[in-house]
């Protein structure tokens, strides 16, 4: 290797290092997790009924309404009845609700499996209420708060694509004042073979209580 080649190699290596550093820094700023258009990995989480639940347990599902929620967040509480209604409305049409509670029980004892089970029983949840103890599913999805909804659509057997991320509707406090039903609209669009018009709608919520690393 002659001198100029060495120099070129050195420059290329240097450039690669710079690119790598820039890349790492840039990706730190980007929110991790799924975005609309991404395919999701299946999960296996314990439910309040003692069973474990995976997407693959629903061979007939056309899609899912995955709701990250909890017992303790005032916003999640405001939406509880509406989540129950979503399942009643869309389970029969092939889009069941799956609720996942990712909160660290150490910080929120009210989100323990026992408390979740009493809540699910008291309100007769028709959908599974799962505990994400390792918080890996919430991280994979990029869930940041409760409630945080992901509408998934089946493209082929076992392949589900994220089609909507965000809020359930535009009126957290008063169900009567709702004007925009984002999740319903997204599911209805998918049921009729279309893409949702609104694919992202962010709203206020409670930060997911992450375990201390």
């Amino acid at each position: 290797m002659n001198r100029s080649m060495k120099k070129t190699m050195l420059m290329i290596t240097g450039l690669l290092v710079v690119v790598a550093v820039l890349y790492v820094n840039a990706s730190e700023n980007v929110m991790e997790g799924y975005e609309v258009g991404d395919y999701v990995s299946d999960f296996k989480l314990p439910s309040t009924t003692g069973k474990t639940v995976s997407l693959s347990d629903y061979p007939d599902a056309k899609g899912f309404i995955v709701v990250f929620t909890c017992n303790t967040c005032p916003y999640a509480k405001l939406y509880e009845d509406r989540v129950i209604e979503l399942d009643k409305k869309f389970r029969g049409k092939g889009f069941p609700v799956i609720a996942i509670n990712p909160n660290d029980v150490g910080q929120k004892p009210g989100d323990s499996m026992d408390e979740m089970a009493s809540q699910a029983k008291a309100k007769s949840y028709s959908f599974p209420y799962l505990r994400d103890d390792t918080q890996e599913v919430a991280k994979a999805y990029g869930a940041a708060k409760t409630p945080h909804v992901y509408v998934l659509n089946r493209e082929s057997a076992g392949k589900f694509k994220v089609e909507y991320i965000g809020a359930i509707d535009d009126s957290p406090r008063e169900a009567a004042d709702v004007q925009e039903t984002y999740v319903e609209d997204a599911v209805n669009a998918l049921l009729s073979g279309n893409k949702p018009t609104v694919t992202n709608q962010r709203a206020i919520g409670c930060t997911i209580k992450w375990k201390d690393v």
Binding site: A144, G205, T207
Partner: protein, 154 residues
């Protein structure tokens, strides 16, 4: 004598009542006015709600920041407008004196910052040079102080 004391106590109570912290409802355009860079001061805009425990905990830290000479602190409640009185009582109870607003809008999260998921507490800091810093997290008092000092010294 007793009567006069009683009267002064009454007047004192009344004046306290008048000075009670009030929250001004605003819309997004007013908020964007607040978040425009100020020529001399750093603007610290904290988003909170009366139902959010971690938010309420850090309110005094933000309030203390406003005592710094070159920092303007704005507390923006994202409570529902119907809960304004509740938020005001909380500020009063905690003796928070910073300028306080309630953002009375339905959809605003993305307009405030593209990276915001909507989880609170969240804080927007705008430097005089126009740089904007957004944090979706809670702060300890020391962290907040250090952050503001770092940004100010940039």
């Amino acid at each position: 004598m007793m009567k006069i004391t009683g009267l002064s106590v009454l007047i004192l109570l009344l004046s306290l009542q008048l000075k009670a912290q009030s929250i001004v409802p605003i819309k997004l355009d007013e908020l964007s006015e607040l978040s425009k860079p100020n020529a001399t001061n750093l603007s610290v805009i904290n988003f909170w709600a009366s139902w959010c425990g971690p938010c309420v905990k850090e309110l005094p830290y933000f309030d203390n920041l406003s005592k710094k000479p070159n920092v303007d602190v704005y507390l923006v409640s994202v409570d529902f407008i119907q809960d304004k009185a509740k938020a005001e009582m909380l500020l009063q109870k905690k003796n928070i004196k910073s300028q306080s607003y309630l953002l009375d809008e339905k959809n605003f999260v993305e307009q405030i910052d593209k990276t915001w998921s909507g989880a609170i507490p969240a804080t927007l800091i705008v430097a005089s040079n126009g740089s904007r810093y957004f944090y979706e997290k809670s702060f300890s008092e020391a962290e907040l102080e250090e952050l503001v000092n770092n940004i100010t010294s940039k």
